[in-house]
């Protein structure tokens, strides 16, 4: 390549973490190549962070210090790690010391800490539930009870970060003067004195205040994470098999009534709590005392409704009817609109699981009430759950409600409500599937979402323009997206007979300017085709298919994912006509390996659609193109399609032989990758139970030749295959009846110069072969150690490698000598350990076999005793010239 055509290299080193650099500035800046400072470590900055070197701390100490740390990232770190660290803390200590710390994390002033903590909180709570017996109302002894969430504020005197004098080099030994933080540690409640003989009891309500605080967090992502945590807690309580029934009942009651319903009654709770005397330490920032308690109670009711929506399917109809429906009942005179907005959604969620009589007697009245609410948010919620409600109603009632509902919402004064009506219309129509008759007004409403019907198709075709939906001025760009997205469900529900009424709208949509509209339609093209049948597919959809093959990659990939599904919907004769153009399809995605991979995934399904001759003439060449691809993933996908290809042509003898011939050509491919592919195809066949006799007849001879291939990677692939064959009962597990080719390959591969090759077949040698092999390997290891070489090195695999090996040896005398000694030590210590363990006497094989795969494959390096090497031995050669 000519130099001046090459892109200029750009120095990579000086990219500041600047904020809004555009890439040109960036490149210019990088090109200047300001020297990177190689100065010594910014040692002072490190000191703070290095305080908490882990090795010396117990899990409890670690938790304590990290939670109390001044550094935010320490607290973020511990918030994430607490679920795993707490498992190593004794349960009595976890209750006594860690539980109050959780409250401190849950009310940390830094959002990042609470953001990290909220998603973990259910795991930690579950740890307590599953390790600690429960007892109700043990108010005095258990932390976290009685809303003490904020009763333990962050300790005002956090551990001070001390300034240690910094040593220029990191000392090798961890011996250090005691740091202030370690002194601080002693101020921890002295653990040894804590009696641990009895298990503490945990109040089921221990975490309710913490969960409430997180659920009410001002930061919505934290509140959302807390909701998810409550949901997963409820799931675990209801589904975990190992909880004893009594505790389960306690937990279930506390979580559903204390946490979920409790958050809707914060005003009442507060009043109750004020009567109690609780250890507030004079602290008045607790949840209940925050100014604006009214607002908090409203937020609490809203959260309760959101939780009811998400929990309804989990807790089932009985509990929903008993616990949740009464709460909804009270919502009809709820003064706050954003609570009603969530309540309306909860109506939908409950309607999804409750029996019809409760729906009609309890839910529909509230629903109707909300449907005419003065606030559009509430009406919009109603609109969004209309389809769910209708799906639960008997046919006539459903039709009536659907029509009435759409009329109401589509004619709403609020644009948001009207557009919600558009969003749900497809789903609503689909509730009539499969038997119901869809009211015509719903169909018309759906079609009105699409582009304006074209009365002037000829004109748009001439101009080739997709602007045909701009006729009535500004339109909501989301409407065609929604329409396209819902189209398959509507076509499926209305059936093939109504296609002609829908297709003009459909065609207009297929030419929409928005890529996401076309992508959505490309993804669902085969679904439409399935409904309307072969002849209409050919007449109406083939042209869409062809135009999308030349569209943007996003659109194309939608087609590729269902290529075979679509072709299957074409009439048989057209299907065959289309075969030769599969190659063009491949060419069309030459620049994008993921699309080629998508096509390669379709190969098995495609070849089932055609007769043997067509498979050989068209699918096989495409598959072969794919196994020669530049990208390994595409090659692998194509390789895995061969078992199906073989299966499809199996009954046609000449095609079958053709197939075998084409595959076996790869065994002597002049590119090593082709030979690897041959072995991999054999492997794929074996993994799908290809008949043993045929395998032996067609492939074993070619495979045998590869046992001495000059490229290691071919031999590795082969060794892996041979190992598999010898492992599988239906092939050659029985060593007495292995064909000669298998035995020859085993012997040769076991004797390979490369450890990775040997590793795959070693287990399948006969015991005699193994011991012979081991003694020769040990000898080779010893020899190579004496020579100061890595025992089995790559060089041996190359004809001309000897000279390099020699060079390495000669030119690094000092280094190799030292390495030599090291290695002798290693060998010795390993042998002596083996002898101590008495393994030496049982079977020399076990001594080595026990360490397979790791130790055997890397005989020289793994079993080194770390302590035997002193740091001084690292400096192994003379200083540089």
């Amino acid at each position: 390549m000519a130099e001046n055509q090459d892109p200029l290299p750009v120095r990579e080193e000086d990219l500041e973490d600047g904020n809004e650099l555009d890439s040109e500035d960036l490149l210019a800046e990088m090109a200047e190549g300001v020297p990177e400072h190689l100065s010594d470590v910014a040692a002072e900055e490190m000191e703070d962070e290095e305080l908490l070197l882990d090795d010396s701390l117990s899990p409890l100490e670690k938790i304590f210090l990290y939670v109390k740390s001044d550094l935010v990232f320490h607290r973020v770190f511990i918030a994430k790690e607490l679920p795993s660290l707490i498992r190593d803390v004794e349960i009595s200590e976890a209750v006594e010391y860690v539980l109050p710390l959780m409250n401190s994390l849950g009310t940390d002033p830094e959002d990042h800490v609470r953001e990290a903590f909220a998603p973990e909180v259910d795991k930690i709570i579950w740890f307590y539930y599953s390790h600690c017996p429960l007892r109700e109302n043990t108010s005095d002894n258990v932390q976290g009870d009685n809303g003490s969430i904020n009763s333990r504020p962050m300790t005002p005197q956090r551990p001070q970060t001390p300034q240690r004098p910094h040593t220029p080099q990191r000392p090798q030994t961890p011996q250090r003067p005691q740091t202030p933080i370690q002194q601080q540690l002693q101020q921890l409640p002295a653990q040894p004195q804590t009696p641990t003989s009895h298990l503490p009891y945990l109040s089921p309500a221990a975490f309710t205040p913490l969960l409430h605080a997180l659920l009410l967090d001002q930061n919505t992502s934290i509140a959302a994470a807390a909701q998810a945590a409550v949901q997963s807690l409820v799931e675990r309580i209801l589904e975990e098999p190992d909880v004893n029934p009594k505790e389960k009942e306690l937990l279930e009651r506390e979580t559903l009534e204390g946490v979920v319903l409790g958050i809707g009654k914060l005003d009442q709770e507060k009043a109750k709590r004020e009567d109690l005397e609780w250890d507030a330490d004079g602290d008045d920032t607790s949840v209940g005392a925050v100014a604006g308690g009214e607002e908090e109670a409203e937020l609490g009711r809203m959260t309760m409704m959101t939780l009811i929506s998400s929990l309804a399917p989990i807790v089932g109809p009985e509990k929903c009817a008993r616990l949740f429906v009464p709460e909804l009942d009270k919502m009809s005179d709820e003064p706050v609109f954003y609570v009603r907005k969530e309540a309306a959604l909860a109506v939908g969620s409950l309607a999804g699981i409750l029996p019809l009589d409760i729906i009609t007697s309890k839910l529909l009245p509230i629903y109707d009430h909300f449907s005419t609410d003065a606030i559009w948010h509430v009406r919009r919620s109603c609109c969004l759950v209309l389809a769910t409600i209708c799906s639960r109603l008997p046919e006539e009632m459903k039709a009536e409600r659907a029509v009435k509902g759409i009329e109401l919402f589509a004619g709403d004064v609020s644009r948001s409500v009207r557009s919600a009506a558009g969003e749900i219309i497809g789903e609503l129509i689909a509730t009539f599937h499969p038997n119901g008759k869809v009211p015509e007004s719903l169909v018309q409403h759906f079609l009105s979402l699409g582009p304006v019907r074209e009365s002037t198709i000829g004109i748009t075709n001439v101009t080739g323009s997709a602007y045909n939906n701009t006729g009535i001025g500004q339109r909501d760009p989301e409407r065609p997206v929604i329409c396209a997205y819902n189209f398959p469900a509507v076509v499926l529900t209305l059936g093939e007979s109504r296609w002609d009424d829908l297709k003009e709208t459909y065609f207009s949509l297929t030419r929409d300017m928005q890529i996401k509209v076309r992508r959505s339609l490309a993804c669902s093209l085969h679904e439409i085709a399935k409904v309307i049948g072969p002849s209409k597919t050919e007449r109406d959809l083939l042209s869409v298919f062809r135009s999308y093959l030349d569209d943007m990659d996003e659109v194309k990939s939608g087609l590729m994912e269902h290529l075979a599904d679509f072709i299957e919907c074409l009439p048989l004769n057209t299907r065959n006509d289309y075969l030769p153009s599969l190659n063009d399809v491949w060419d069309g995605v030459n620049h994008q390996w993921r699309l080629r991979d998508e096509i390669a995934k379709q190969l098995p399904a495609l070849c089932r659609l055609f007769n043997s001759q067509n498979v050989i003439n068209h699918i096989l060449p495409l598959t072969i193109r794919a196994i020669k691809d530049d990208v390994a993933s595409v090659r692998e996908t194509a390789v895995s399609s061969f078992p199906t290809l073989f299966q499809v042509v199996r009954n046609d003898e000449s095609c079958y032989n053709d197939m075998i011939k084409r595959v076996c050509e790869f065994a002597s491919d002049n590119k090593f990758r082709g030979r690897v592919v041959f072995v991999q195809i054999c492997n794929a066949l074996v993994s799908t139970d290809y008949p043993k006799e045929e395998f032996a007849r067609h492939f074993l001879n070619d495979l045998e030749k590869l046992a001495s291939d000059r490229v290691i990677n071919v031999r590795i692939a082969l060794a892996r295959l041979v190992g598999e064959l010898c492992r599988m009962e239906q092939y050659y597990q029985d060593s007495s009846s292995r064909p000669s080719q298998i035995n020859n390959m085993l012997r040769r591969l076991a004797d390979d110069t490369d450890v990775d090759v040997r590793g795959f077949v070693f287990l399948y040698l006969t015991p005699e072969e193994r011991s012979k092999f081991i003694s020769s390997t040990i000898q080779a290891m010893a020899e190579s150690a004496e020579n100061g070489l890595a025992p089995i090195s790559e060089e041996n695999d190359l004809d001309n490698g000897g000279s390099i090996t020699q060079e390495t040896h000669d030119s690094t005398p000092i280094m190799t000598n030292v390495n030599n000694e090291e290695k002798h030590d290693t060998e010795k210590s390993k042998e002596s350990r083996d002898m101590e363990n008495g393994r030496e006497n049982d079977d020399p094989l076990d001594a080595i076999m026990g360490e397979i795969p790791i130790a055997f494959i890397r005989s020289n390096v793994i079993e080194v005793d770390n302590n035997s090497r002193s740091s001084s031995s690292l400096m192994v050669s003379s200083p540089p010239p």
């Binding site: 770190f77 511990i78 990775d756």
Partner: protein, 318 residues
Amino acid sequence: MGLDLDACISQLLQKQLLAESLIKEICEKTKELLMNESNCVSISAPVTVGDIHGQFYDLIEIFRIGGYCPSTNYLFLGDYVDRGLFSVETISLLTCLKLRYPHRVQLVRGNHESRAVTQTYGFYTECVRKYGSTNVWHYFTDMFDYLTLSVVIDDRIFCVHGGLSPSIHSIDQIKILDRYREIPHEGPMADLVWSDPDPDKDEFAISPRGAGYTFGGLVVKKFLEINNMEHILRAHQLCMEGYQVLYDDRLSTVWSAPNYCYRCGNMASILEVGVDGQRFFNVFDAAPENDRDGPSQQTSLEKKVSDNVYITFFFYLV
């Protein structure tokens, strides 16, 4: 029970961190392994990878394109850490692969495999953020001291992270360097990881980077003649097309971090070297996972819901 490297590798392929104690053990064992390697290791027909810089998803993309170990031999030319968001995951995975398949995977030291540089450019901070202390950073940077400095592919291609040094004429001189140390400010070891080619010059010149040198066409020609090599292969410099070939095909730069720092918009490549020395640059673009788990997701807990393609609910009805 010994170290289960296969389990570690599959965990890391899922982008899950290993426990600190595991990292310690792995680094110790890797040191033992690396200690026995020459300063110039000979290998055969690898897929060669340039700078990765903590772009974990793009490393996975490299395996998708080049193939996984041990089916494919890999030569990594350094700069595994810093800049990207997932240096810890990246170097953990590479270290485990090296330990699991020592003859299939070769790791060369880059200028970022150093205590000083990683403290400024991200790896240090990332270790502290992800493990709560500096231990893991110490384990890895101690291990970096043992990485080899150069590689020769099939007696033809000399590979190094940065480039040539005025004090090194023959490869034998590399072999006797004391490499088991932090990268020094100057001298041949610093030059090997810091130098850059300069297509407009013939000889060595002061480098604008403040470390190493720039070297010209004559230097390259002479080095190849003295050492009886055909080509020099190195990384260390961003190439917008993913690679660059200089000096009448005597030197190539391979760059493997697409859309570097998540904003440069560059392509990346891996160089596939055939058994007979053929070179093929397999060019690739940033992995799609970067959009879902990249810089824009770093500050927020919210996970983007992936694009809904078309309506799916009716499948439950059918």
